[in-house]
Subunit: 456 residues, 2 copies
């Protein structure tokens, strides 16, 4: 069995902690092993290891998440990168082509597709392994996991059984997000929740790709990625396929995609320093800012502060968040990158003197900022901690805490940390644009040979 | 009639917007004239002008508030500075000595003492003017204004009438913060609220100072200020004085010292950019940070975010704030100064490389940072906007947006803005202490003559 882990989502429903580069699956709020805190992605990856599926897994994701995935799961984690975000069908098709044409996996091999943000016990992944047997014995085209509902939720999709076998069901049809009353009726018919897990033979999906007129070779399909229909795997494949079976699962399964359910899994009611919350019941606080948060007499609420904004929400209503926060169309104030992370401390505009962004950046030991230049802006780096080297117009400088490096517009510049390093970067220009970056090289070794070495 | 305006208070009850240097009376949240927004101090000062009392007034305050008072009311505003914060009796005594020995005011002159944070109509100040006549006709020692209660509040002090004259009452005694039930009984006896306004003949307070063995000369009393008892004027004088009269006042009077009452006077329900608040009733939001605030389904609450912290409080409970927030014993993140203001953007500590504070500073045109040096820290200034001059070890440099000025520990440095200027200052040292400032001169002209002039 092979496993495709889908890591998507912009995670607007977990604003302000999630943004385009830090989706909900990367938020470190869950109780990990031995007292550590882990993200949903880290939890799922660890669990796959524990049940022996990690070696079989590849992660399908977009460019924006590659850095944070490697930061959280390790540099060697196998990733298939979607050239643009389309939907789950194109992502699964591309990864299937990768397994077949690059990894030379046999079309008879069973492939299980899993979301990276399921909150489950290891039993769940044991059931995933059982899907191989279910698929083979039932003769079905697709085998799903159906979660036994514990409430008539209107937030999930339901699969309705046609016929019950000894250990699995034949699926008659699907109902998306029914009303609570309808859900109650469906549960009486022994309907199960669709938790987004699909298993099929690799050949099954390859034949669908072929029938649609797309190539099966990974490189060729990658080149045509933008032509793949922007549609979910559920709509494009599952709903059009006959002979779908499902394996019922009765253990823990939670969708932690909204604040009300996520906070239930937080090991502590309050996260962050300098938080107080008298006269409030069932209220959770996450404070990622460096300033104190005081909550007085506000019950059943979730209060979250981070570099991107502040949320104060009734827990029930927090699932409506997505409806509103699209209004805040701002660039992320915190992002994780290949080399570390940055946080925007200030963004000011002046009538005569243009724009200024001040940010604090952390560069991991042995990582580097690529060799680049800007046409429209000056930058100033002040090293706060650690040591490393800077290259300015092909010249090497040793830098350490206290060093100040001025980078006028047009100057080629790169920075490498030899120990963990932090710095303040001040960008100044008539207009600051994220597009104003001319990359000369990503690779420190390429930037050398150097003319000379100087200590700032 | 002379007026002493008392400007005190640490304003913990309006945290996080108020701090030691920005007390509640300086928060700009009130509807001013012609659409402007004004602070309580600005409102009271404007009203004193409108009723013709401004020319008679002097403000008693502590060192920490001098800069912000001048910023808000004008550089020429008359101020008597308490050398240390003691309480209202010492502040009034010192100002009385100032009026008598420096301003040569006659002991027969009536002096009215007013808090700088009353929220009233101009009618109130007309009543204040009437206190002169009331005092003279009644033969009383002290004349107060008694506000007609509109509810049995347990938050105020009550004055109980002994005898009712045509236009004023004789006060029998005072009751501090009674229970609501007791307050109801007191109101039946026609008790009035004590709103902190006292009028007396200057000679009355001078004779009390003299009887206590203190000098009446301003300079002499200033030198002995630390020996004056740390006690309120109410306890030291009012409660021990016979023949107290009060003038009833029926107009608008509000104590805006807590969030629940202050928000009632806000011209808009939301202040600050990027605020949204669906499904919430009677909730006020003040956002002084540069990030968005989303409030969903939280009613009857006040949400305030500022550089010093974030408050989310039920309105009723917001008056209890003081009980809790003493726990956040942090230095102010925003302060107004003689030369402008600063905001701390980041405060980091590193095991090997010490402490770092990054702050954004605004210097008004023609203002300057004093000539000083630090033993323990380097500083780096990056000018964001505007122009001016820097002096480093007696050498003059012209600076403008884009200039970067490095100031190693031990370097004498000053900065003068010729236009409004903003900059980022990065302080770095093993330990950063507010005491590590060696002032050479506050006066730009003194720092010259200069050796040379260079453009950075």
């Amino acid at each position: 069995m092979k496993v495709i882990l889908l890591s998507g989502g912009s995670g607007q429903r977990l604003w302000p902690l999630s943004n385009d580069s830090r989706s909900k699956q990367f938020l470190k709020v869950l109780d990990g092993q031995d007292g550590s805190i882990e993200s949903m992605a880290q939890r799922v990856w660890r669990q796959l290891g524990e049940v022996g599926l990690q070696e079989q897994a590849v992660i399908a994701t977009s460019k924006k998440q590659v850095d944070i995935l490697k930061n959280q799961l390790g540099r060697q984690v196998p990733i298939v990168v979607e050239p643009e975000r389309r939907d789950t069908f194109p992502a699964i098709a591309l990864t299937a082509a990768y397994l077949s044409s690059v990894k030379r996996i046999n079309p008879d091999e069973v492939v299980a597709v899993l979301p990276i943000d399921s909150y489950v016990d290891n039993d769940f992944y044991e059931s995933v392994k059982d899907l191989e047997d279910t698929l083979n014995r039932s003769g079905g085209n697709i085998a799903l996991i159906g979660v036994k509902p514990d409430a008539p939720s209107s937030r999930f999709g339901y699969m309705i059984p046609k016929e019950k076998q000894r250990d699995h069901i034949q699926v008659s049809h699907f109902v998306e997000k029914p009303s609570e009353t309808y859900a109650q009726a469906l549960i009486k018919e022994e309907a199960l929740w669709n938790c987004g897990v699909f298993a099929f033979h690799l050949g099954f999906i390859l034949s669908i790709i072929e029938q649609m007129g797309f190539p099966l070779d990974y490189a060729d399909l990658l080149a045509q990625y933008e032509k793949l229909p922007k549609i979910s795997f559920d709509f494009e494949v599952v709903e059009r396929t006959k002979d779908i079976v499902a394996l019922p699962y009765e253990g823990v399964w939670k969708d932690l995609g909204v604040w009300s359910t996520l906070t239930e899994q937080m090991p502590e009611q309050f996260k962050g320093s300098d938080v107080l919350c008298p006269e409030s019941k069932n209220t959770h606080i996450i404070n990622e800012l460096d300033i104190p948060v005081a909550v007085l007499g506000i019950s059943n609420a979730v209060i979250v502060s981070g570099p991107d904004g502040i949320l104060v929400s009734d827990k029930e209503l927090s699932s409506d968040l997505k409806k509103f926060i699209f209004q805040f169309n701002k660039r992320p104030m915190y992002e994780e990158r290949r080399w570390g992370w940055y946080k925007i401390l200030d963004h000011s505009e002046y009538e005569r003197d243009g724009e200024v962004i001040t940010r604090r950046m952390a560069i991991r030991a042995d990582s580097c900022l690529s060799y680049q230049k800007h046409e429209q802006r000056n930058e100033t780096w002040t090293i706060l901690s650690g040591e490393g080297s800077a290259i300015l117009n092909d010249q090497l400088f040793e830098v350490k805490a206290g060093s100040v490096i001025e980078i006028p517009a047009g100057t080629k510049h790169a920075l490498k940390a030899s120990t963990d390093m932090e710095l303040i970067e001040i960008q100044q220009g008539p207009v600051l644009s994220e597009e104003d970056v001319y990359r000369i090289s990503m690779n420190w070794e390429e930037i050398l040979p150097l003319r000379s070495s100087v200590t700032l």
